[in-house]
């Protein structure tokens, strides 16, 4: 059904349509509308789930872990300080191989206090074992949330998935989107290690030095296996529902000499910058990275690279730029822009390309 609403509402409607059994959440700006809407669906009966209001984000993830361990579908949403507060439980959920799905409204961390869009919250959860996808439209927020359940619960993967949407820029924008009837697109959840009272087992037991590494390695197996599962899920989604997604989205890249790479809403707006640059005779293209974990490296051979990071690793650099450089050998012009909701326009993005100096870093708005 074609409808009109915010990014937050789209996530909530996707959750309603994916039918989790337990939703445990704590409100935080700018994701609060997601869990409010879901609470409404539970109240009006359009979602037959148990909604557990908890006292903190640490508890919301803990409640999801407990529920998911019994083999049911779970969801929560958070943002910023809420996400980093549940950090311990993020490691716990991935380590316990529980396919929890969570939406994160990307928001800066304070102080200085700021509720604007920034990816530092989710990027700092990089090594927890969660899959991370970054979306750029309200429609994609809906679709990615729907696909997240199928990917997370796939028995080759069994890892939690975080859908990241830019705070305010995407959570609060109103756009057209289409909801779907997923049918058997999301098969019934079948967690192989679900708690079974008729077949008791040990959970959270000690894994000493001679076995622990095997469990860690197995997480990486799940992460690697997630790549074909994501591709197969996206292909099946396109076949059934007509909307195409890929591991990363290329725009006018075929004959590009220079490509701009980013995640989230900036990566959609940069298509407009590419059009402007093309009109000026600059053979520019754009790559919108959708999956940050697993990290999938585009082929950048023979191209100059401009990376826009809406995050920063102090003492290191822009995280996306650094990871692309490490994995592909490219020498990116690393731009740090959009922190804390800093206004970045398509004209600004076009200018980043014009002033590029490969192998250097540029903070937008800071005099170098």
């Amino acid at each position: 059904m074609l409808t009109f609403g915010t990014g937050n509402k789209a996530v909530a409607m996707a959750v309603r349509d994916a039918k989790p059994v337990v939703v445990a959440a704590y409100p935080i700006t700018p994701q609060t509308e997601i869990v409010e809407e879901i609470a409404n669906y539970v109240t009006d009966g359009s979602l037959d789930a148990r909604y557990i209001p908890v006292e903190s984000e640490h508890s919301s993830m803990a409640a999801c872990i407990g529920a998911a361990a019994t083999g049911v579908r779970t969801f929560t949403a958070t943002s910023s300080h809420g996400l980093v507060y549940m950090c311990e439980m993020l490691h716990m959920s991935a380590g316990a191989r529980l396919p929890i799905v969570m939406a994160n409204a990307n928001r800066a961390l304070g102080p200085g206090w700021n509720i604007g869009a920034e990816h530092s919250d989710s990027i700092s959860m990089r090594d927890t074992g969660w899959l991370q996808v970054y979306v750029s439209t309200v429609q994609e927020a809906y679709d990615a949330t729907m696909m997240a359940f199928r990917i997370a619960e796939h028995t080759d993967v069994l890892l939690p998935v975080m859908i990241n949407l830019d705070g305010f820029l995407l959570t609060h924008i109103t756009q057209t989107f289409e909801t779907i009837e997923p049918g058997d697109f999301i098969p019934p959840i079948a967690t192989p290690h679900a708690i079974d009272i008729n077949n008791p087992g040990g959970y959270g037991t000690l894994t000493p030095g001679n076995t622990h590494f095997k469990f860690r390695h197995d997480i990486e197996r799940g992460m690697k296996a997630s790549i074909p599962v994501i591709e197969e899920t996206e292909a099946e989604f396109a076949r059934r529902f007509g909307r195409e997604y890929h591991l990363y989205e290329e725009y006018r890249c075929e004959d590009a000499d220079v490509v701009i790479i980013a995640m989230g809403t900036l990566a959609k707006e940069m298509e407009v910058a590419v059009d402007i640059l093309r009109d000026e005779g600059i053979a520019a293209g754009a790559i919108r990275m959708r999956w940050f974990r697993p990290f999938i490296v585009p082929n950048l051979d023979g191209k100059e690279v401009v990376v826009i990071d809406r995050d920063y690793s102090f003492g290191y650099g822009g995280v996306l730029a650094g990871e692309l450089q490490a994995k592909s050998g490219c020498q990116p012009f690393s731009v740090i822009a959009g922190l804390g909701g800093q206004e970045v326009t398509y004209d600004d993005i076009a200018e980043f390309v014009r002033i590029r100096r490969p192998g250097t870093e540029h903070w937008f708005g800071v005099d170098d």
Binding site: H172, T174, Q175
Partner: protein, 175 residues
Amino acid sequence: MFEIRLHSRGGQGGVTAAKLIAYAAFLDGKYATATPLYGAERRGAPVVSFIRIDDKPIRVYSQIRNPNLVIVLDESIMELVDVLHGIKPDGKVVINSQKGTEVEGHQTYPVDLTGISLSLDLVLAGNPILNTPLIGAIAKMGIISQESAKQVISETFRDKRNVEAALRAYEELKI
């Protein structure tokens, strides 16, 4: 792409008005986005919302810098904010005004939205409801269709006086 910047005060319903205008454009078969600009808002503080309408999917998330239309829901804001900042040379201005305020250099459409609401006793939490008559005014300017304007209001508000308010603004705004 047609770009609208809406100036209001926190609590006046500007954010909702932007959503409703964009929703009407969506019903007209167009692509539309409505974006509130959030800062440290509180009741009474000047706030800004953006509406974009296009025949193609909209890829822009940054703020509107060169609006085709500026809407001012509270004319006292004009003493605090340069509402005309960046407006296109042929950009138009709609001002909610009881005294027919005009701006220089741009075609201005003053309309007494407050008066219309008060005359119908359309008041919520002590404030006159401005977004439903505004939709009537925007429909008169041809930015959204009359049918979509009616549908948006009747879907969103049960009170029939909202449709009446829109009709009155539609009649009152002179083009």
